[in-house]
């Protein structure tokens, strides 16, 4: 009898704990933030966190004080900052251990619930291992995601592999990094390179101010592998699939002020630095004369006419599991710092309407809740 009573009490205790445990185990969203080019993301100090700062730094004064995370996070959301060395000084291409390998290892650590090691302004926002994971990548970060997610299955060419300085293969946990990742969001992604890199490497870049802000002045290997020529693209170095679906958002606004002239050097619509065709992961060259509605037309003295001769819808992508999310009136700077709160947009074929009217961060927030 005593044994039975103790067992009964124990059962009540366990049942209560199960219920309350269940109540606290609701899945939060965890946004894994992968920055773009030119960030000393391998440095993490208490008063110097470049990877985190890259989501609120602004090159243009118009966007000072903006913070991507302000628009991204709902009260229950978590995030994790991934930092890697994407500087021109180091010049690591996207397939190096210091880039792809490092990102993968940090993603695994975050997904294990180990935290990102950064000081968050927002309390209780470190990710837990049972969160719903989404990757948010900007610019070069998108190229990183294509290479990594495209080499996460056993049949892929560079399966779980990155490269060291000597050209040797190094094991990198891409499979674990993308396991159970619900989606990869790309913002202004250089998925098929950027014509800006072409111009740096081919000696035709005229606007050194913009160049210095977003790419180096030299054609170092990291810039070299961001050119639009197919030989350099991650999509040519992957297997038959991606480990997670990729949803692309593209910007088509020029930079503010005199730097807006940079758009004149890029083919088709662009965000001031990346051709729209590259941002949307379109099949073929990034230098397609793509309009903000993601279609390419014949032109007469620069004016489009007739039916599209190419449509960058979900059937017109250059990588598997790649989908159109939105085409937003935003430039490359505002994409990562949320500098334009409510940009205009164009309804595009296969695009998602959740978050219409919001900036890229706000769109992700709306679409993931």
């Amino acid at each position: 009898m005593t044994l039975k009573f103790r067992t009964f009490l124990s059962s009540i205790t366990m049942a209560a704990s199960m219920i309350f445990a269940g109540a606290t185990q609701a899945a939060d969203n965890c946004y894994i933030m992968v920055h773009g080019h030119g960030v000393q993301g391998n440095v993490v100090e208490s008063n110097n966190q470049p990877a985190l700062e890259s989501w609120r730094d602004s090159y243009f004064s118009n966007y000072e004080g903006s913070d991507f995370l302000t628009y991204l996070l709902s009260p229950s959301d978590n995030y994790a900052v991934i930092g890697y060395d994407s500087t021109d000084e180091s010049g690591y291409p996207y397939w190096r251990n210091e880039t792809a390998g490092e990102i993968a290892r940090q993603m695994v650590a975050v997904k294990q619930g180990n935290g990102d090691g950064y000081t968050h302004d927002q309390a209780n926002t470190q990710c837990a291992s049972n969160d719903n994971f989404y990757v948010v990548s900007h610019s070069q970060g998108a190229q990183q995601m294509v290479f990594m997610a495209g080499n996460a299955s056993a049949g892929s060419p560079y399966y779980n592999t990155a490269f060291n300085a000597a050209g040797g293969a190094v094991s990198a946990p891409y499979t674990d990094a993308f396991n159970n990742v619900l989606a990869i969001f790309t913002l202004g992604g250089a998925m098929s390179g950027t014509e800006g890199s072409d111009r740096v490497c081919n000696g035709t870049w005229l606007d050194s101010l913009i160049n210095a802000a977003f790419l180096g002045k030299s054609c170092n290997p990291s810039v070299q592998w961001l050119q639009t020529n197919d030989s350099y693209l991650a999509r040519n170095l992957i297997g038959s699939t991606l480990a997670a679906p990729l949803y692309a958002m593209g910007g088509y606004k020029s930079f503010p002020g005199i730097q807006g002239a940079s758009a004149g050097f890029l083919t088709g619509e662009d965000d001031g630095y990346i051709n729209l065709a590259s941002q949307m992961g379109c099949a073929g060259t990034a230098k397609r004369n793509l309009y903000d509605d993601l279609n390419e037309y014949k032109t007469f003295w620069g004016i489009a006419y007739g039916s599209p001769i190419f449509r960058c819808n979900n059937s017109g992508k250059g990588t598997p599991r790649t989908y159109t999310m939105a085409s937003v009136y935003t430039d490359h700077d505002a994409e990562r710092n949320g500098g334009i709160a409510a940009p205009s947009f164009v309804s595009v074929e296969n695009g998602l309407s959740c978050g219409d009217g919001k900036n890229m961060a706000g769109r992700i927030n709306s679409c993931t809740h």
């Binding site: 199960m18 219920i19 899945a27 000081t119 060419p157 050209g167 020529n229």
Partner: protein, 361 residues
């Protein structure tokens, strides 16, 4: 907490009570599963790069889950949590649909809905690159005849000048061949020999001693100085060390998939990547498969497996055609051989001979 979830409390209490009581019954107690325990406690390979201790600058209280939030995470995968949301938005519905579609086939298989989406075609398609001058009144378009060449190949580069309406014009071009380090190897002279306003030049790779068969990415910089327009194309010189012998055989595996084995000859030990697309005899694309692995010098049979369900979904009966094959040595950059079209046709199989089971139910 939403009022809906308070209703779960008494139900959960009763259920939990029953389960807990059952688990505490002596006859039901069992020892822990050593394998599972090990799986939980064994860490994955992780490098902890960051050592800064997280500090909190502001306090924020997390709200209780909303009525439409996915709940009770532990037994469900993330995608199943999304599936449980009753009022999904566009992305959430797309994620579920995409997941279900993706899991129908093994990861090495991917359906091809239209020929233009064949990944092999996309990888080998030559890009015509157009670049305009600053005021967009003139442009040049350049391309090469292939993307991948062997050491004994001949590269042909083309260029034309166009006005803002896209009309070809007479124009003069200068060009340079650059090596893998972006250093100039030689000048090229593009000529319009057939008066079609398309200028071209050819490079016999064996005749350029600075190349000397060295694999890598080479660049050809093309310029029209009159209108100050410059662009570059690239090509890969490959030494793939793998080739198809022309021998194949095929059968349906015990689990209802189509297996085509292709014999390859390897000349040096390395990791290799093979990708092959399957079409119907009426040229309807079905899907793609891939193989990657380390191979020693000699002949090998490479398995090319196509999921039975992928063939069933295409609704195309056999025989089938191995339409395009890409073989490559996995180095950085990847050394792809020129595109192969083996024109191999399988036995005649009926659709009902293939499995209709998804890869992950």
């Amino acid at each position: 907490m939403s009022s809906k979830y308070w209703l779960l409390v008494p139900t959960g209490l009763v259920l939990g009570l029953v389960l807990a009581y059952a688990s505490n019954t002596p006859t039901l107690v069992s020892s822990s599963d050593g394998i599972n325990e090990q799986a939980v406690t064994t860490p994955l390979m992780v490098s902890q790069q960051h050592s800064v201790k997280t500090e909190v600058k502001a306090t924020k209280v997390k709200p209780a889950p909303q009525a439409n939030s996915p709940l009770l995470t532990s037994p469900l995968s993330p995608i199943e949590r999304i599936r449980q949301i009753s009022d999904k938005n566009g992305l959430q519905q797309a994620l579920v649909n995409e997941h279900d579609k993706f899991k129908r086939y093994p990861p090495q298989n991917h359906p091809i809905e239209e020929a233009k989406q064949d990944p092999i075609s996309q990888r080998y398609a030559v890009d015509e690159r157009s670049t305009q001058n600053e005021d967009k009144t003139f442009g040049i378009t350049i391309w090469s005849d292939e993307k991948f060449y062997l050491a004994n190949g001949t590269v042909t580069v083309f260029a034309f000048l166009q006005d803002a309406n896209g009309q070809k014009m007479d124009g003069a071009f200068s060009a340079q061949l650059l090596n893998t380090q972006h250093q100039k190897i030689m000048d090229l002279n593009l000529k319009d020999e057939d008066n079609d306003q398309v200028y071209q030049a050819s490079i016999e790779l064996t005749s350029v001693k600075e190349i000397n068969g060295q694999a890598g990415i080479y660049k050809i910089l093309v310029e029209n100085s009159q209108h100050q327009i410059k662009d570059a194309l690239t090509f890969t010189l490959s030494k793939p060390d793998i080739s198809l012998t022309g021998n194949y055989h095929d059968n349906i595996t015990g689990d209802g998939n189509l297996l085509i084995e292709a014999e390859v000859e390897v000349t040096s030990q390395n990791r290799f990547y093979v990708q092959a697309s399957l079409y119907s005899v009426t040229n309807v694309p079905i899907g793609i498969t891939e193989f990657a692995g380390n191979l020693a010098p000699g002949k090998h049979w490479v398995p090319l497996t196509y999921a039975g369900l992928m063939i069933q979904d295409a609704q195309e009966t056999g025989p089938y055609v191995l339409e395009q094959v890409s073989v490559a040595k996995v180095t950085m950059p990847m050394q792809r051989a020129p595109l192969l079209k083996p024109d191999y046709q399988t036995e005649s199989y009926g659709l009902d001979e293939f499995s209709n089971s998804p890869y992950e139910p």
